[in-house]
Subunit: 197 residues, 2 copies
């Protein structure tokens, strides 16, 4: 049984599924949604997977026993396992993870190079900006690969984000107090939904 | 001696400085850069100000004794105090705090309402998105006020962010591996600078 832990699944599955079958073994794609901006053995965390979500992306041709084995592996380290189509996985992850990484990189770069008069502004950052840009501390090589492997999904998700950002920008430009407060409040409710889930 | 703790200083100083002088007291504007997305007495934190930065925004006409008293107040709770022009304060804070809040609200709203097929995507959010959108949990009323009181600075900072985001988006669209990795790596270095400061 061959499996993987990649963050983008469609390309992986379409390459490895037939390749493994030809080699006489069974492939089941998996994405344990867990991790941090750190890399390497020193960043190991024994509780990393506990209560996280793991998505398996079997195809119609996947071997049932292999699927059960991979499911048991991830349930064994405490993850909640579910299955979905690889393409759907990629479109969802583009929105909840891949595009937000690009946003965080853009924000870190914009603040990092901003100057007001002679002052580099970055030394005035508070805990809010540190959290907002935490994932911009992630490996550039890894995330370049993810962004390009899921290019279509990432571009769609970035376009959705930009639409929202422009709406807020326009309300600020117009000085529309009521509509801006309503838009912020709606975003705040969505944010509270992210914590609960 | 009258002081304040508002996140936007130019409007505050230009209103309160002459008003206090007319009333026979001295005004010194202050912004202790500390806080969280929570509000109310239950969110009190005895260590909130320790090692944080506090910006005082005296004018040429400010009373020296009043300035010393306000400085002593904030140093007394452990803050590093510095002084600058109110307008410069507002342009810096637009970049490190106010615009990032708008970005976080936009991201929370975009993800919160995104669906892929029938699935709301928000239930697949990991810890990265939770951190990235934490400040979108902040009071909508407070941040509507801040965004509009510092409108010009916020719009400038959002434009700088959008320029960066479009650059990254274009590199993803073109599939330019080398340039994208370099841009992510540069952002990552800036992010590391934010942690150190």
């Amino acid at each position: 049984v061959v499996t993987d832990v990649a963050s983008v699944k469609e390309e992986m599955v379409s390459l490895l599924d037939p390749m493994c079958r030809d080699a006489g073994c069974a492939f089941v794609g998996a994405h344990p949604i867990a991790g941090s901006e750190d890399t390497g053995a020193a960043a190991a965390d024994a509780t990393l997977f506990r209560d996280g979500r793991c998505i398996l992306t079997p195809t119609a041709a996947s071997d049932a026993k292999a699927l059960a084995a991979v499911r048991a592996l991830w349930e064994g380290v405490g993850m909640r396992v579910e299955q979905m189509d690889a393409g759907m996985h990629d479109r969802i992850l583009a929105r909840v993870s891949h595009a937000p990484h690009v946003v965080a990189y853009a924000l870190a770069a914009a603040v990092g190079e901003a100057r007001v008069g002679m002052h580099p502004v970055s030394s005035y950052a508070g805990s809010g900006l540190r959290d907002t840009t935490r994932i911009a501390g992630s490996s550039a090589t890894l995330w370049r690969g993810i962004a390009l492997a899921n290019r279509e999904g990432v571009l769609e998700a970035l376009a959705e984000f930009e639409t929202r950002l422009r709406l807020l920008t326009e309300l600020i430009r117009r000085g529309d107090e009521a509509a801006l407060e309503e838009a912020f409040a709606e975003a705040r409710d969505y944010r509270k939904g992210l914590i609960r889930s």
